[in-house]
């Protein structure tokens, strides 16, 4: 592949990742890492390093929409971020000490899990938790968000178990170059019983910081080739902008399912690579 063709391919891949991320909520890492490893044939650590920058771009691109809405619970994000960033540092270290085949296997399994979650009906607990847990009270995590002109107050529970899950989510993010948003939202939605919109916006804030923790590690180990990372960042920002506009006119639910089917096929390809087939 010539350098020019490579730049065009990764730019297009970045746009696709940004559009899919904006439309379906599934992270760009699930598009970028397979593209860079299976199509561009980049070594996995470099694909992960580049993808983490794409994840930060996704987070930054979406963040201005949430400022002032109260949807992103910054206090909660900071508390959970201690766990996620610790996990990310650990994950970056572990990723450099385990066989690449094992990483491909883990990636394939995480992709399959994300795809399956996309097919399951989403039953969100709009009422939220009935009362704060003692730890949530001490940390002042209850808050409110703006919805249809009014403010909705909510309580928080399950801080400790969610903290534990965030360590794992941070590790996976650093090892595989993904945002791990699917795990973060799951912990906040099901364990902490936050309103879904709050979970999604808080997770978006967190994925950027988690990715920055480990992306610095990859960059300082010379695993972020600028000729690949720069077009990916540009593409993701552009794609997120386009996706935000197309959200109103495209059938998002159907797109999410189509993307999940594609994810399954790519996951099988990654698993086979992991098994050495």
């Amino acid at each position: 592949m010539t350098p020019l063709l490579m730049v065009i391919v990764v730019l297009a891949g970045g746009v696709l990742a940004g559009v899919i991320g904006a439309l379906t909520g599934l992270g760009g890492g699930l598009v970028i890492v397979p593209l860079l490893t299976l199509v561009v044939h980049l070594p996995l650590p470099e694909a992960v390093g580049v993808s983490l920058l794409g994840v930060i771009a996704t987070s930054i691109g979406a963040a201005p929409r949430f400022v002032g809405t109260g949807l992103s619970n910054v206090r909660l994000a900071l508390v959970l971020q201690v766990a996620a960033s610790s996990g990310a540092l650990l994950g970056a270290l572990v990723a450099h000490n385990i066989p690449t085949k094992t990483l491909f296997l883990i990636f394939g399994l995480v992709m399959l899990y994300s795809a399956v979650m996309s097919f399951l009906p989403s039953r969100h607990d709009d009422a939220g938790a009935p009362a704060d847990s003692p730890l949530a009270t001490r940390l002042r995590l209850a808050s409110r968000y703006r919805n249809d002109g009014g403010w909705i107050e909510y309580k928080v529970q399950g801080v400790a178990p969610a903290f534990g899950i965030m360590v794992g989510a941070g590790m996976l993010s650093a090892m595989l170059g993904i945002g791990s948003g699917v795990f973060k939202v799951l912990a906040m939605d099901k364990l902490m019983r936050l309103p879904f919109k709050v979970s999604a916006a808080t997770s978006n804030f967190m994925i950027g910081i988690t990715a920055a923790t480990s992306a610095g590690y990859y960059l300082s180990h010379g695993e972020v080739p600028p000729l690949v990372a720069a077009p990916v960042i540009l593409g993701v920002l552009w794609g997120a902008y386009l996706g935000g506009h197309w959200m109103k006119v495209l059938p998002v639910q159907q797109l999410r399912r189509v993307f999940a089917v594609v994810l399954c096929f790519v996951a099988v390809d990654m698993l086979l690579k992991g098994l050495g087939v």
């Binding site: 730049v7 691109g61 400022v67 206090r75 960033s85 540092l89 972020v224 960042i233």
Partner: protein
């Protein structure tokens, strides 16, 4: 007073985010333009090293108008944006005398900084 500080915090956050996106996109576009102008030939990747060493390397490459320097600059802007947002949050919490979240914020800043400064000395 608290509402005024909160509004100020929101304004600063939006400025950081928009400025970062603008700077990164501009820098990457300059890098891509130079890449095309120089015949779209492959260039070596940024060597490993601590972020401060990489910054010095980028500066020397930028003076020679090498495309990789501008692309790397855009990458670093994106990489440092979450940290800038965190630091501005810590300052805002300190102004509101919310010491618990000053400490929690500093802890996260510390963890992100460790990730940035644990590179190999390859330069």
């Amino acid at each position: 007073m608290k509402e005024r500080l909160e509004a100020q915090r929101r304004r600063i956050t939006v400025v950081i985010l928009r400025l970062s996106i603008g700077l990164a996109v501009f820098s990457i576009l300059v890098g891509l333009a130079l890449f095309l102008a120089r015949g779209a030939v492959y260039f070596p990747r940024t060597p490993s090293g601590r972020i401060d060493q990489i910054l010095i390397y980028i500066w020397s490459e930028a003076r020679a108008l090498r495309p990789s320097a501008f692309m790397d600059a855009g990458i670093l802007v994106i990489l440092f944006t979450p940290l800038a947002r965190l630091v501005s949050g810590v300052v805002a919490n300190a102004r509101m005398r919310d010491w618990l979240y000053v400490v929690v914020g500093l802890l996260v800043v510390g963890l992100v900084t460790i990730g940035l400064f644990t590179g190999e000395t390859g330069i």
